[in-house]
């Protein structure tokens, strides 16, 4: 049938036009991806061979990965489920096997560390996980013991099969916490009843039979984890902070066992007041006895190396001050690495540190083992130290060290203090970001300044113009000279590094500064072109669950005033907010006087009002609806007073289910204008979205088939509010979408979608709202689009005021089936809004789909007509396609994509996109193709040679024609 055929042809051509994939040779040209793993919980060096360069890490983000210790790049990475299900409880590395306990002891997995393949996986019995330990027998590591709250099980290391599982005696009263074995056929399980006694159970490694079970009086004991360790040949060593003494217990003693009490004073030692001493011991090989030597930490900066010999404890060396200690074993040698502040007089806040190796058995310092390390002053404090020791050719011990700091950074150090690489794992959890234009270069600024300044006489202006031209000429000659100079050097040396000094805006403003705020409180400035971290700043004392809001108060456009960003940090517990004001290009903290914020902050609002120094005014609303302005100069206050009657703000309290609108009064107090209550017991407000402030809409309407105009309802104050029902039963659950005017509180549109469930992802832009939800009836994901139109007449074409809009808009809606759940949704944004819009959909698979908005158009007709064809409307089809060529990140998947940020560039066709989640991916998209630049593969040679050829052909043929004419004239 003809119409269906026409439909298909039309759709096909629309698709052809919309395809936006990159070509193979464009890969990596303007996009980059960085992969992260998150804050490291367990780290181990793969030390089974000398040449190995692998570092195995298991992180708080439930990721198990292998890092190349030469470059810091990932060899491989396994991303598990988020939350409790994928949590990595323990990591044990032996040879080429890494055994992980996952999901509170639910799964036991063994990974092959070379290529990251799974050796085996077993599902274990339920029970809360306590600890896991490698167990050796006769010098060979054969088993993994997993201790749960009420049972211990032994698994073969080679295939994961369970050898035996035994219930623990009296597990309802005794807390079992530690497993110990020295490879002699016994497995000791240690448990305790706090303030009462310790229980030691010895199992036979072969059949799990209880060999021995003793309980030892220990009224001082509170925990086994940090205050106890097995040292030497089966001696349990505990430290009691209350009596400030050590206790030792021979585990395999025949007959009645008892703790031996050794007061710290007898060793001339004393714990610092209020500090819980910690025992740090090591068992270099699971099939052999632990080391006799151990560290005792007596204060935040005091470590003592002690030795247990024949039941007696002897101090070997006192490290004071020392930041971190770690044991490392290579071959038969075990060394202790101690990191201490370099300048011993200034201790904790000193930024230079040095790491030294000490022989573990004597406490003697090993020569030529010092590594100096300069702590980043903008980074966090030291957290942990991992040391990879190896034997050099001359049999001395060399090492490399991995330092973990509080800001989730990993620094890999090599002798004598070279930083091999740094991984900023805070970037695995970006909360919010902004893109800031780079500053102009000196010459550009000079030219800009010429236009900006007031004219002062003709001659002066001519002179100024001449001088700036001269500067430009100078810069150009300098550039030429550099080109010439570089051309003589080999190609590899020319590679220009991006540094903060060489930063300058490019021709089309495609290179920007990405300011990223991470959940750990570390801020980053990243060059969008290369992905280089140009600055970082760690904010100390930020709560882990704090709320952040980043605002650009002054852009780069106001030379010579530096750009200014403000980060509002709200402490979730106290509700108090604080401001961090910084220069987004250099990351330096600004020394502007900050307002005092004594009351909890509810929201903030960036006004388009500017101070004399072009700083936009930030309004902070506290819990009594009082407003604090920042900056609050006289000029600002005066402007605020003048404009007060037209400044509105709204607050949404999700727990109360209220939306309230306020208006500013002249004295910076506020008055309640409207309130909408959505009963919180029936439905919960989950999402409120206004329009982006920097969005431009070029076309005020849509051209219809009969060439009349359907004008868009472009209300800048419109809010899209999403509610979800509290009842989650599939038959009764629903979602509600409200369009509310933020100034008047008028509900413009209201839609309830029955049998639908969240999470709802929503984009609100121009005159449309696109949202995605789960349809519980059909059990599928659906997209829905709402578009608002004023009709064929504009009410007021020059001014938009929410207070004067008598006619409600026409609202059109259409829904589509989407074949995948989504993680995040965002729309492209361009400078002038001429380019057609695409939706960027972050899929759980890690792909980012660029979906033309054209497909989400409620005017798509079910029956094709002449007019709809004229309008280029695609006939309605319920299924929304996912085409692989729409994936803007081809195979560069972004794991756990959490957000997408879009920013306009200087080119109308180009939109900058940053997708963040576990990884960060930056690219450019061209929703309407690159209509304003020549293509990459534009054949300049061909065109210029054709032009030249034609020119010469014209010259020659002209000459020939002249000669011929002359000849003819003579004939």
């Amino acid at each position: 049938n003809m119409s269906a055929l026409v439909c298909r042809v039309v759709a096909f051509f629309c698709l052809l036009r919309a395809s936006a994939a990159v070509f193979e040779d464009q890969v990596g040209k303007f996009d980059w991806r960085q992969q992260f793993v998150g804050n490291v919980r367990f780290a181990a060096f793969d030390a089974h061979s000398q040449a190995s360069k692998k570092l195995l890490v298991a992180t708080e983000k439930n990721i198990f990965a292998s890092v190349n210790s030469r470059t810091g790049e990932l060899f491989w990475r396994h991303v598990d489920k988020t939350g409790q299900d994928g949590q990595i409880d323990a990591m044990l590395v032996h040879g080429q096997d890494a055994v992980l306990v996952v999901g509170n002891g639910r799964l036991l997995r063994s990974w092959e560390t070379n290529i990251g393949g799974l050796n085996w996986e077993v599902v274990m019995d339920t029970g809360s996980f306590q600890t896991a330990q490698l167990i050796g027998l006769a010098d060979i590591v054969k088993f993994v013991a997993v201790l749960k709250k009420s049972a211990i099980s032994l698994h073969y290391l080679s295939n994961g099969h369970q050898k035996w599982v035994e219930n623990l005696p009296d597990s309802d009263t005794v807390q079992y916490q530690t497993v110990y074995s020295s490879g002699n056929g016994d497995v000791f399980v240690l448990g305790l009843v706090p303030h009462s006694h310790i229980v030691v159970v010895a199992y036979n490694i072969e059949d799990g039979e209880i060999m021995k079970q003793v309980s030892v009086e220990a009224p001082w004991i509170t925990s086994l984890d940090s205050s106890c360790a097995v040292v030497g040949s089966a001696v349990l060593l505990c430290v009691d902070p209350v009596s400030s003494s050590l206790y030792t217990l021979q585990l395999n003693a025949e007959g009645r066992a008892e703790f031996v009490h050794i007061p710290l004073q007898s060793l001339d030692l004393e714990a610092e007041a209020g500090f819980h001493p910690v025992v740090i011991a090591t068992q270099p090989h699971p099939a052999r006895v632990p080391l006799k030597e151990f560290f005792l930490q007596l204060g935040p900066e005091r470590f003592i190396l002690l030795q247990l010999k024949d039941g007696a404890i002897a101090p070997l060396r006192d490290f004071n001050p020392a930041n971190l200690v770690a044991f490392a074993t290579t071959g038969e040698k075990t060394v202790a690495a101690v990191m201490s502040p370099k300048n011993e007089t200034v201790s904790y806040f000193s930024h230079a540190c040095s790491i030294n190796l000490f022989s573990a058995d004597t406490g003697r310092r090993l020569l030529d083992t010092t590594v100096t390390y300069n702590l980043d002053p903008n980074g966090g404090k030291l957290n942990r130290l991992f040391v990879l020791a190896f034997l050099k050719k001359d049999d001395s011990v060399g090492y490399r060290a991995l330092v973990q700091t509080e800001d989730f950074a990993l620094t890999f150090l090599q002798q004598p203090g070279r930083v091999v690489w740094v991984r900023e794992e805070a970037l695995a959890d970006v909360v919010t970001m902004e893109m800031v234009d780079l500053p102009l270069t000196g010459t550009q600024a000079e030219l800009e300044g010429e236009f900006g300044k007031k004219a002062d006489g003709l001659l002066a202006m001519v002179l100024k113009r001449l001088s700036s031209q001269l500067i430009l000429l100078q810069a150009w000659i300098g550039h030429l000279w550099k080109l010439f100079y570089d051309a003589r050097k080999p190609r590899s040396h020319v590679k220009n590094e991006v540094t903060i000094e060489t930063l300058a805006r490019d021709e089309f403003n495609l290179q920007k500064m990405m300011v990223m705020v991470t959940a750990s409180g570390k801020l980053f400035g990243i060059d969008s072109k290369s992905g280089t971290i140009l600055w970082k700043h760690y904010l100390q004392n930020v709560q882990p669950n704090a709320a952040f809001k980043l605002m650009v108060q002054r852009t780069t456009a106001h030379f010579p005033h530096p750009p200014q960003c403000t980060l509002l940090i709200k402490d979730k517990d106290t509700g108090l907010g604080s401001l961090h004001v910084f220069n987004p290009i250099f990351g330096k903290k600004s020394h502007i006087a900050l307002p005092t914020l004594p009351r909890p902050i509810q929201q903030s609002l960036l006004l388009p009002i500017m101070d004399q120094d072009y700083t936009k005014v930030l309004m902070l609303i506290d819990d009594q609806y009082k407003v604090t302005a920042f900056p609050s100069t006289k000029n600002v206050l005066q402007q605020l007073q003048e404009m007060a009657s037209s400044i509105f703000f709204y607050l949404v309290d999700s727990s109360q289910g209220t939306l309230s609108g306020f208006r500013l009064r002249k004295d910076l107090s506020t008055e309640l204008m409207w309130e909408v209550v959505i009963p919180a017991e029936v439905q919960k407000i989950t999402l409120v979205k206004g329009k982006r402030a920097n969005e431009h809409v070029h076309s005020q309407g849509r051209v219809m088939g009969d060439r009349s105009v359907l004008y868009k309802y472009l209300n800048p104050n419109l809010l899209a509010v999403v509610t979800e029902s509290t009842d989650t039963h599939p038959e009764r659950s629903f979602i509600g979408v409200f369009l509310i005017d933020g100034v008047t509180g008028r509900i413009i549109h209201e839609a309830v979608q029955r049998k639908a469930r969240g999470p709802v992802h929503l984009v609100h832009s121009e005159n449309w709202v696109v949202y995605e939800y789960w349809n519980t009836k059909s059990r599928r994901n659906e997209f829905s689009v709402l578009e608002q139109y004023e009709g064929t007449e504009l009410y007021n074409s020059s001014v938009f005021s929410s207070l004067d809009r008598p006619h409600p808009p026409q609202v059109l809606q259409q829904s589509y089936i989407f074949p995948s759940p989504i993680n995040t949704l965002e729309a492209t944004l361009t400078e002038k809004g001429i380019t057609s819009r695409h939706l960027l959909v972050g899929l759980p698979s890690g792909a980012i789909l660029s979906l033309p908005k054209m497909f989400l158009d409620p005017r798509r007709p079910e029956v094709v007509s002449e007019q709809s064809r004229e309008e280029n409307l695609i006939p309605y089809a319920p299924e929304m396609p996912i085409r692989t060529e729409w994936f803007i990140n081809y195979n560069q998947t972004v794991s756990r994509v959490k957000g997408i940020y879009t920013a306009p560039s200087g080119l109308e066709s180009t939109c900058l996109v940053v997708a963040y989640g576990l990884d960060i991916y930056q690219t450019r998209v061209f929703p309407s193709k690159q209509f304003d630049v020549l293509k990459d593969d534009y054949d300049y040679m061909l065109i210029s040679s054709v032009l030249l050829g034609l020119f010469f052909a014209t010259m020659i043929s002209k000459r020939l024609a002249e000669v011929k004419l002359l000849n003819r004239a003579w004939r």
Binding site: S708, V743, V799
Partner: protein
Amino acid sequence: MSSPGGQGGGALSTRGAGGARRMKWALELSLSNTRSRGDRQGGQGDTMYPIGYSDKPVPDTSVQETDRNLVEKRCWDVALGPLKQIPMNLFIMYMSGNTISIFPIMMVCMMAWRPIQALMSLSATFKLLESSSQQWLQGLVYLVGNLLGSALAIYKCQSMGLLPTHSSDWLAFIEPPQRMEIMGGGMVL
């Protein structure tokens, strides 16, 4: 009305048509072919005439009444030319259709350009018509014909949708409305 001189063949040659030998040079004012000339020359013998000589009497060329009528007729031809083209144009219009592609556009351009060109060179046309007695009437007809032609072109543009007569054609020039209120806020942090 053929000129009698043309027939006579004011042929000039240094030698007679003595055979197939090539001449060094020859001037021939006659356009008739050699055979006929040869025939005639054969009839006339070897007599040589000066250039421009005609052996027939020159007819009376004084202006006669019939010529005046002819001029009038000619002028009417000129004046009615544009009108006569209109049916042809209508046919072309019908054939080219309303789609916007290169050929219809070329047709429309031609149709629009010709009357405009004619109107621009109106004074020259008037000079041409000067000799006619009905000069003004003819001029008017000529003008009307051209105006009709351009009206036809405009109509064609209209039916092709090339004229900015709809509100949608001015959509791009509408400025975004100015915002009267400043609004912001969000969920309680």
